[in-house]
Amino acid sequence: MSTIKTPTSPLPKLPDQTAVSESSTPVKVANKTPADSPSRASINTTTSKNEVSSDSEIFTSEINACCLHYLVNECVPLSMRVQEKLMKNETDLGALMKNLKLKDQNIRGSEEIKEDTKSSKGPSDSHTREFLAGRVDYMNDEKYLDVNSLYRIEGYGFEIGFKITDCLIYDKSVKEGLTVKMVDSLEILKFICRDVWKVFYGKQMDNLRTNHLGTFVLIDNAFKPLTHFYSGKGEEDTLNKVTPFLQFPSGLIRGILWSLSVESVVKAEVINGKVPGISFTVQTNFDTKE
């Protein structure tokens, strides 16, 4: 099912994969660059020709880090609003369809449907209250932890991870003057811990563990976007509200793995109920080639 884009070569497996803390061993290098598969999107924000041809141009311009963080954080209320609007359209459409059916005399139980329409309309109206910008009221909405909107945030992360991988690998290879090749999931995870986290959050992950069966645990003891995340109602409330903000990085990790042809499921958790410490459990499709 996985589409293979990068050479996951059948190199002999590294014998020394004991619990790795990702500071020591350098990432494997080889002579072939995997950064040449152009990505695709409806709005093209991906690697384009001029980017590849001019080495000095890429990754030189900079912007304020807080812009990126504000943007990413804003994904959460955005996703809620989008979900709400889509839901509204759906219920409107649903109501419309049901009304159409009502005219058909032959359909039985049309009274019930009518009831349904009414009851479904009631709450949807109350949801369309005004969104208050810049406030945290939206976090108290029951929709805050709605699965669809969580999934959408994860999707944002995924998409970005998927698109950014080529750039990051290219950047790495230019900076280090070598071409980078990632041969197995462990290398990729190390790449995420070190390089991806560095560019996105300005620090590396603190720890990486694996059971050598495709499960990895990535630990960041002070996850940057959540360092000032605290609910006035106490710790328990903070924990309840943190979930949507963990979706984005989870999606990011999944997206990067996917673009390097590793399928995975990523789950983020707060370590010991203390907020800036986050662990990401990554379950990959471990291929059992001996």
């Binding site: 409806s42 709005i43 924000t45 311009s61 304020n64 504000y70 943007l71 989008v82 810049g134 996105f200």
Partner: protein, 190 residues
């Protein structure tokens, strides 16, 4: 005055600001817009609207960051404001300096011409005939400006009037002062 501002902006940018690659930002923003377009089934009015809303939420927080970094006092007139927005605001956040131009005769509205736009690097609009007419790709900027202005008691209309992505000659944001707000207790917090 204008030289000093430029100096201040450069200084802050160089010394006080934590930085990330702009490509990362570009891609992130691009992905969000692309996803929005998909979600709303290419209804670009909705997309513009959401981007603006997003920007607005960012803007009313971003102003704190701005004031904290710059320690600037109140502007005397809109001319000052325009200079500060371009030479310091844009500089310390996006590392660009738009040109202030096209003042209206009554000095209540001006244009910001963006010669470069980190949001729109490598971007092509969808080729469906609609996008180039309706979608303001960088509309989030308008929202941010709107939010920031509102927080310093300037009720402004902010919108794009041209965009190079659409084939125009320049990218221009139009800012129009509607009125100066009085200090008020926020709604619902009496």
């Amino acid at each position: 005055m204008s030289r000093q501002l430029k100096q201040l902006g450069d200084d802050i940018w160089r010394n006080k600001v934590e930085k990330v690659n702009s490509e990362l930002f570009t891609l992130t923003y691009g992905s969000i817009v692309a996803q929005l377009c998909k979600d709303f089934n290419y209804n670009y009015d909705e997309v513009n609207n959401e981007l603006f809303q997003m920007g607005y939420s960012i803007g009313i927080r971003l102003i704190d960051e701005f004031l904290q970094k710059t320690q600037l006092s109140r502007c005397v007139n809109l001319k000052d404001t325009a200079e500060i927005v371009s030479k310091i605001g844009f500089k310390i956040f996006l590392n660009i300096t738009p040109t202030v131009a096209h003042w209206a005769a009554d000095y209540r509205s001006f244009g910001l011409i963006l010669t470069e736009n980190p949001l729109a690097d490598f971007v092509e609009l969808p080729d469906d005939g609609k996008a180039s007419k309706k979608l303001w790709y960088s509309n989030i900027l308008c929202g941010v400006l709107k939010g920031c202005f509102e927080m310093v008691q300037l009720d402004c209309d902010v919108s794009f009037i041209q965009d190079t992505l659409k084939g125009d000659d320049a990218t221009e944001i139009r800012v129009k002062l509607i009125k100066i707000l009085k200090d008020e207790i926020p709604a619902g917090e009496e």
